[in-house]
Symmetry: C2
């Protein structure tokens, strides 16, 4: 029997028919083969092979007919078309979210009489009675107190405060109810999960249409409710949902999990691109922070998609200026060498704060997870919203939405400006004591009025308040929370007041962001694109590097990785090297005390025996060997494929009974004529499983798993199959070596 | 015997002593084991294992003594220290090169009487007699005609021309002689070779101290001689030389080829950083264009090194302005949507020109390689120099060195400026016909004087001339030539004249550069950092993407890859996927008609038999099997290690004769007491060789080779060893599949 297969294999003409054509498999055989179950890890090698087979088939066909040639060309361009669509859709959604959130934030304070759909700014734009001195005060816009009591001054502020808190609570309640009722996956920042999905894990529905709809609505609600959260992480999630949904229109991407992940990598670049208006920063963010497999092809496509998205957003123009760069602010004064010292110090403080932030946030989330607190998400959200709204209202700068605050702070101070931040006395010529000589050519040349000092003090308070409330908010079970906007908003808040002080604030906030997310290059590029501050490249780089070093010294994980670990996702971290001196034999299953490995033989097993093996075990795949005695490896078959094929044979193939032989060989063994027909499963057998020897150091095995994106790997010694290592085994082993609980890895 | 080893292997306590400790190997045994020969490919997996072993040893020791702890800490920081040193050294060298080239370029035209070491600008700075009107004319600076004949006007220009050409020829001659005599590796751009080295190939001396010295000197000479070449490629080479030399002071990097390549990746970022003053662009250049293995750790280190280098260069300040950004030029006018059409068209032209440039250049180089032209490199260089100098002198803008041209063009046009490019009549208010309305707020608002039109015409001529001469120059056998400066210089040349036209010139040149090098993201970032033109992010991205698409449609290779292929370097391109449907069995050696694979058995061979096998074959390694009959794989041993170990045993181990047994097993087989002592080679045996099955598609094999950086891979079927695939086999197979000559792959 073995001899037969040997001959069959080495004969000259075995190859064309013998090689596993996965494309045929998909087209001809049972549906379901070649797909994955929920909460499983994909096999990158297999997926990429499938795609190459598909591509080859199309190329071959294209040589024979014109229609096929056209199809082949459209297939080649479908990737770029998809990128175009993702860019357009994400850009449009981001623009819509911005406009809606702006309107609803204003709704908390009052309403426009001309039409409730106008926000404060648009309401007063349309008014003829607006004077230049009081641009944002027009008779058409009524605060709630004015509308209900009719008085606009004095003690009615309490009523305004009450309405503000009520609206905030209503928005937050709506958000949390929507998430719980329709799309539980729409909660959270999304970036930890997207990182996990990009590494090859399957979470069905996480990027589905319901998640997209609910996430978009609740993002507007949550931002409007005034919770300390940002649109950035959620926008990455929204962009990935768009990408995933659009993938369904392209066979190439619908059918292939690996190709779809390439698209998702590009989509996460799009998300950051629309959130910050920073296309290059987005591409680098995807590369440095999110993606697992990022070939150069994906780099170019991300670049293109981010470009389209930024362009779409610019066309929608939610911020009312024609620049792509949202907040074009430059530090015009050159920096002095000695200034590097405070910048590096700010980097150190930022790193310390970042590490503390992660620690505090994870402790809070663990508390929520392990105590009864976690059972009342709605109440938790409402309490946090109540606190935020109550405390935020009295200070002008925390009350505002981020976009209002931005336009308040970033417009140049003209003579007609009503903002307190423009409370400079226009007496130029003499410089005040607090503004030193190097800043004399900027705004600082004008004396700061008393209103400015109040504004500064309030801003500083706002900063501290925002930072503390964000610890509690990130990772809350409502909706889409992020650390980005926190820092971003505050950067804005402090950036334009005084050239000298805001520089230091700016650097501190960049460093904090660096400490929390551990981004370096992408952060610096995003800041360039945000502010146009090209002059400050060296200090910015110095501050972010310092911040990263300091934060890394305290703990190795970024906020996203910490959340991935907290949630027990099967994520094989690429940043940290595995440094323990264990061998494959220490990790492989079965252990020495366990029963031997469950294997199938390539022939000689009956349908009943195979079915019993499937029923008795929970393994997701079985190695196929020549015989139980020799244990020489032939191939590997996946449980799912095996179950589907056997069911299919029982149902559709005539004469298959429990004693029918199951054959994984190409040619039939000599069987008695009276025997029932055999079930041939050669086509679901993977003839090229990955193998390592028992002596292979685990560091190399981990490297292979990471780089090739494997699901499992067989362990052999001198040609005999001894065991198997799965991704889960590796993650458990790594957790064990790091003295963590190996059972915290939840999924396959 | 086999039984013995089986017992020996599966017994519980075999592991601690059995696992190959490569660090011990290096310390205890014969020198030379674990190193590579010239023109060979390194084994990334093995090198990284070596480093991890070393790291583990240091960590373990550090727990026992304070000295070892300090050593461990210093070891951890040595990477960053090395980066600091590379940044400092490269920055300083780049500054020195700039200053020297500036002086020598001026020497071609004249000399300073106050001291011959002053360049034109410095000479006149020191002069009191300089008027503002004629800033660059002072009595201390004499042209050669003035010095020799004493007259400064009229027909003596011929004498100046003669002196100009003579100096250029002298510089070029010196450069070519120095390169030929001392450091043949100092010729060429260097980037194709560095790409090959980074992919794991060994070219001893290519990054040595002689190359560094000669490259630095000849770079100055070649730039000064006026050849159409840039400092960018060569500066990458210089930075890599610095890195390689500095690696020798750190054991961690001296001993490990893989770790050293990580440092070299960072160094190539440093090279671009100092060449363009663009640190982030440098990091992206290294990532997108040069590097083979670029983990996130290297990203951060490159970032740091590029920062230090840019900072050092800024401190030296060769361009006399305090900005880090060398040429701070902004397009201040916002762009219109319709302008995208000309930008994309320029992208298409740029891509076409880029593809043509590569084609023409490769054809020229092939001509040089295949005909007798290649035998006279000195004459070729002198002819090109003569042509360049003769033609360049009459036009002012081609005569100038790049840095002169830059300062000429990039300084703001003041009222006191003598440059012809500032020949605007200051009559603002009316706009000339050629300047359209959108540009009215820029320089274009002033009427262009007649001098400006002459200057424009000359610049256009200079552009065409430079482009044609560069085709012949790139890849010439003198010294360090690059395409970068060509475009860079021309960008400068045309950038500041008229806001409307120069924008289009600028985009054309960016697109050309994109077409030649096929960079996208890094190119856009470099252009940002160079010009500060953040406004134009979308059009820039559109133009570079278009250019890349167009050029890719014509030929897939960038100029660097084309040169790598021309030179037959063993470089496994990561950009293009292998798409043919061949299996491992089609590529592996031996072929079906060949004699069987040369293998060693783990025991039972004598020293003489092994030596005969080594002498009869040229393979760089041999698989070790249990027995010739079973062909069950045990491990792999490298030829070099085997030769060294056998020689060592013959020399130092007593009683070893030709009939002594060679054992690769851990425990001795039962031997007769009278037999001579056996040579135990278990410690040089790699027990975890990579294996694939005969059915593995070549696309997967190629992927494994690329991602893991393998040298060879064994092919097995059902536990039997059938063949071997080396990197060279793969490259030959790929060449064959692409209908190229497989014998063009020169090295191992």
């Amino acid at each position: 029997m073995q001899c037969c297969t040997q001959i069959c294999r080495v004969s000259a003409d075995w190859r064309p028919s013998n090689s596993p054509k996965l494309i045929d498999l998909l087209d001809d055989t049972v549906p379901g083969i070649g797909t994955y179950e929920d909460f499983n890890t994909i096999d990158w090698v297999r997926e990429k092979s499938k795609d190459r087979d598909r591509h080859r088939e199309i190329t071959n066909k294209s040589k024979h007919s014109t229609v096929a040639l056209l199809f082949s060309i459209s297939d080649a361009f479908s990737g770029w078309l998809l990128m175009l669509l993702i860019g357009l859709m994400s850009g449009a959604l981001a623009g819509g979210i911005d406009i809606a959130a702006h309107w609803m934030t204003d709704l908390k304070e009052g309403v426009c009489l001309n039409g409730f759909w106008f926000n404060h700014e648009h309401c007063c734009w349309a008014s003829n009675e607006t004077t230049f001195q009081e641009r944002d005060k027009c008779p058409q816009w009524k605060t709630w107190a004015e509308l209900m009591v009719g008085v606009s001054e004095g003690s009615v502020n309490v009523l305004n405060h009450f309405m503000y808190v009520s609206w905030a609570l209503l928005f937050a309640f709506l958000a949390v109810i929507l998430v719980r009722a329709f799309a539980p996956y729409a909660c959270g920042s999304g970036i930890p999960e997207i990182k996990t999905i990009l590494s090859g894990f399957i979470i069905r529905g996480y990027l589905g249409k319901w998640t997209l709809i609910i996430k978009t609505i609740t993002l507007v609600l949550a931002v409007s409710s005034g919770l300390s959260l940002g649109k950035e992480g959620p926008l990455v999630h929204v962009a990935c949902c768009c990408a995933n949904i659009l993938c369904h229109f392209f066979t190439k991407y619908r059918r292939n999990e690996a190709k779809r992940r390439e698209v998702l990598s590009a989509a996460s670049a799009v998300g950051v691109s629309v959130a910050f208006g920073a296309p290059i920063g987005g591409v680098l963010f995807s590369l440095e922070e999110v993606s697992y497999y990022f070939p150069l092809k994906t780099l170019w496509r991300s670049f293109f998609a981010a470009l389209v998205a930024a362009f779409t957003l610019r066309s929608i123009n939610p911020f009312g200026n024609s620049r792509l760069v949202l907040f074009y602010v430059e530090f015009h004064t050159p920096w002095h060498l000695l200034e590097l010292i405070p910048f590096v110090l700010l980097g150190i403080f930022g790193g310390l704060w970042g590490a503390f932030f992660i620690h505090a946030n994870i402790a809070w989330c663990r508390l929520r997870k392990n105590t009864r607190l976690g059972h009342y998400p709605v109440i938790e959200v409402l309490v946090v919203t109540l606190l935020t709204a109550l405390l935020a209202f009295p200070i002008e700068y925390t009350r505002m939405s981020s976009s209002e605050l931005i336009s308040e702070l970033f417009n140049d101070c003209g003579l007609l400006d009503s903002s307190k931040l423009c409370g400079y006395t226009s007496n130029s010529g003499s410089t005040s004591g607090s503004v030193n000589a190097t800043a004399a050519n900027g705004l600082g040349a004008r004396l700061a009025g008393p209103g400015l000092y109040t504004a500064m003090w309030q801003l500083a308070l706002a900063l501290v308040f925002k930072m503390l409330i964000t610890v509690a908010t990130f990772g809350i079970k409502v909706t889409d929370l992020d650390v980005f906007l926190k820092a971003k908003q505050n950067i804005r808040a402090v950036l334009r007041i005084k050239p000298q002080n805001d520089k230091h604030f700016f650097f501190f906030l960049i460093s904090t962001l660096g400490g929390v997310t551990r981004m370096t290059v992408s952060l610096v590029v995003i800041m360039f694109e945000l502010t146009g501050g090209l002059e400050y490249i060296v200090p910015l780089m110095a501050a972010t590097m310092t911040s990263k070093w300091v934060a890394d010294a305290l703990s190795r994980e970024s906020i996203y990785e910490a959340h991935i670990r907290l949630n027990g996702y099967p994520f094989l971290e690429a940043k940290e090297e595995f440094r323990h001196k264990t061998l494959a034999t220490d990790v492989m299953r079965p252990r020495q005390s366990d029963p031997p490995l469950s294997v199938l033989t390539q022939s000689g097993m009956s349908v009943e025996e195979v079915e019993r093996l499937i029923a008795d075990t929970t393994y997701s795949g079985f190695p196929v060997v020549i015989s139980q005695q020799s244990q020489r490896l032939v191939g590997f078959v996946l449980r799912r494929d095996l179950v589907i094929s056997l069911e299919n044979a029982r149902r559709h193939q005539e004469g298959v009974v429990s004693v029918s032989a199951v054959l994984f060989t190409e040619c039939d063994p000599p069987a008695s004529p009276s025997a029932p027909p055999a079930v041939k499963l050669h086509n679901i057998l993977d003839l090229s499983p990955f193998t390592v020897t028992v002596h292979t150091p685990m560091e190399i095995v981990v490297d292979i798993f990471r780089k090739l994106g494997l699901r499992q790997c067989l362990v052999i010694q001198n040609g005999r199959l001894l065991g198997i290592i799965t991704k889960k085994d590796i993650l458990k082993h790594m957790a064990q070596m790091a003295n963590r609980d190996p059972e915290s890895i939840l999924f396959n």
